[in-house]
Symmetry: none
Subunit: 182 residues, 4 copies
DNA sequence: AATGAATGAGCATTCATTCAT
DNA sequence: TATGAATGAATGCTCATTCAT
């Protein structure tokens, strides 16, 4: 078999790793699975990434923060006086509907970070990303609480395999936001 | 090696499994690890539990619902007019301080339930347990939201390896509770 | 659990063993499979049959000789001047159509007998049974050849998963039978 | 233990597999047995052959068709007017005398093919090989019947552990061959 | 007489990683 | 530089059989 000239091998491995994780979860990631998915010799994966963790980190880092990104890219949040609760509820609903695997991945990442310190920074980035955006519309304490409540709501939806109730989400999120002081 | 007479071997395997899970997470559960922990031959684990899942289910079921139990056993919740937000914040703080491994286990269970349907009922029991108690002090919508927010707060604490701020928790939980109508 | 009074346990084990072999082949026979099939505790199988081989022998012996039996019970062979080739072809066709699993079992038995001496006598009984009947209508050499040819034809049918051509069988079987000398 | 440089390891595994099958039958084939026979670490067998079936197929394929090969290589069959029955009887006798294990293997292959579809093509190759040669000396129907009869005769020899009677074989084979029409 | 429990050997397979080429 | 080969540990699971009760 002839040596392959494949300058973007590294990137293709990352993409393959993401597909594997999306399909089988973080636990399902293995050198073999990635090599097969990328149609690349097994040795190649360990050549480009000294360890599985390194590959996992590279893959997750490029995923660009799941929910945080959806929030950051929201046009509504760009405007100052927007209805934060309603907008968060809307984005969440859309995210859950569009990218269920991505949602699961986000929580898998959080859990995995508990046991793999290398994942901590990534998990922190993802969490902080949302808070950062929200802080522009409310105080830090409220921002943190909003994120926590949303996390809890998403977890419940995933768990019960139930459907997401946007109006419910909007309503309880709104309760967390203090009435403006004139 | 002589045959051992060992009634309660089954129970000892469950206990060993819980220790293994506490130490290495659900992902770290293996027949071999349990057998070693219980000081029992490997074949014994598969004799008593036809599959790993069966053992895992037995172990989790006996754990008695982590947080749900802490809530249910709270003396304060027995009284009608108690300060729900304050009490929840208190219990959570105590739980996080006393049984960190148990907290992680709870979230691992939730996540694992996503991929292992056999765990769903157990996860449901745990979640519903808390809501059930809360419903005696507030409406169902609020109860669900309180649980979600607590879930989110715990997740953040676990993730950031940070300390739990009871006063913060009490304050934002309180916001979720509607003002009583006279 | 209360001790079961079950006087025909032995027989039920044999029946269960036959069902297991029919489903999974001789290789699929195991104490566990039989115990489950008979809804009987595992220990019971080894109590009634000291070894797997013993159970297998008991089961095969009661099967009553597959093809040999079909031949022996043929009404046509009872009559002296019958068309042996046609009748053999007919019986074989019916047997293949009615009891495919039985046919496979017969050849599995033959093969297994190669490695398990205890099965030899049973295999011999089965083979000889047919010859015995045929000898009443033709000479021993021809009888043996007829059986051999039928064995070969059945093997081909099983192997190619093809259909059985009764007319073809009749025709070539007939060639083996010497023309009667007046 | 030092890493071994061992090109042709793959081939050695195939050879070892054949020895194992020859000794213990197809049912006796296992990764462990092969690894031990080839004096190679266990992991090596699964590296070169992703599954046992794959190894079995590779081994059987290289065996080169047992009886079919003996027939094809017969010098007599190269000549047009040869005595087919006599030659077949001769070859069979030689084969049975020279390679008893190979004969058993052939029938084991046929039986195993019933349950393992991957073996079907190999079994088909073996069977068809003989017929192909014979068709050059007689019509297809007769060719098929000759093969069937030989199969049956061999089966009987194996089964009764008896000796092969070449003259008997020649005689009954001859009966299958239609008299030439002038 | 009957059986639940026990056990050790065995099974196929997956895996992360190392290394000779 | 790139990779096929190698390896040893580990995985879940099945099994025939033995034995204490």
């Amino acid at each position: 078999m002839t040596r392959r000239y494949d300058p973007e091998r590294r990137q293709r491995l990352i993409d393959a790793a993401l597909r594997v994780v999306g399909r089988a979860g973080i636990a399902g990631l293995s050198h073999r699975a990635v090599a097969a998915e990328a149609d690349v010799p097994l040795g190649s994966t360990t050549y480009h990434f000294a360890s599985l963790d390194e590959l996992l980190v590279a893959a997750l880092r490029q995923t660009n923060e799941g929910f945080a990104r959806a929030v950051r890219e929201s046009a509504a949040f760009a405007r100052p006086g927007c209805d934060v609760a309603a907008e968060l509820a809307r984005i969440t609903g859309e995210w859950l509907a569009r990218d269920r695997a991505g949602v699961e991945l986000e929580y898998e990442l959080y859990l995995a970070a508990l046991h793999k310190p290398v994942l901590r920074p990534i998990a922190a980035e993802w969490t902080d990303g949302v808070t950062e955006t929200l802080v522009r519309h409310t105080d830090p304490v409220t921002a943190r609480a909003l994120v926590a409540l949303l996390d809890g709501i998403c977890l419940q939806v995933l768990l019960t395999d139930g459907t997401y109730d946007e109006e419910y989400a909007r309503q309880v999120l709104a309760r967390l936001i203090p009435a403006p002081v004139d």
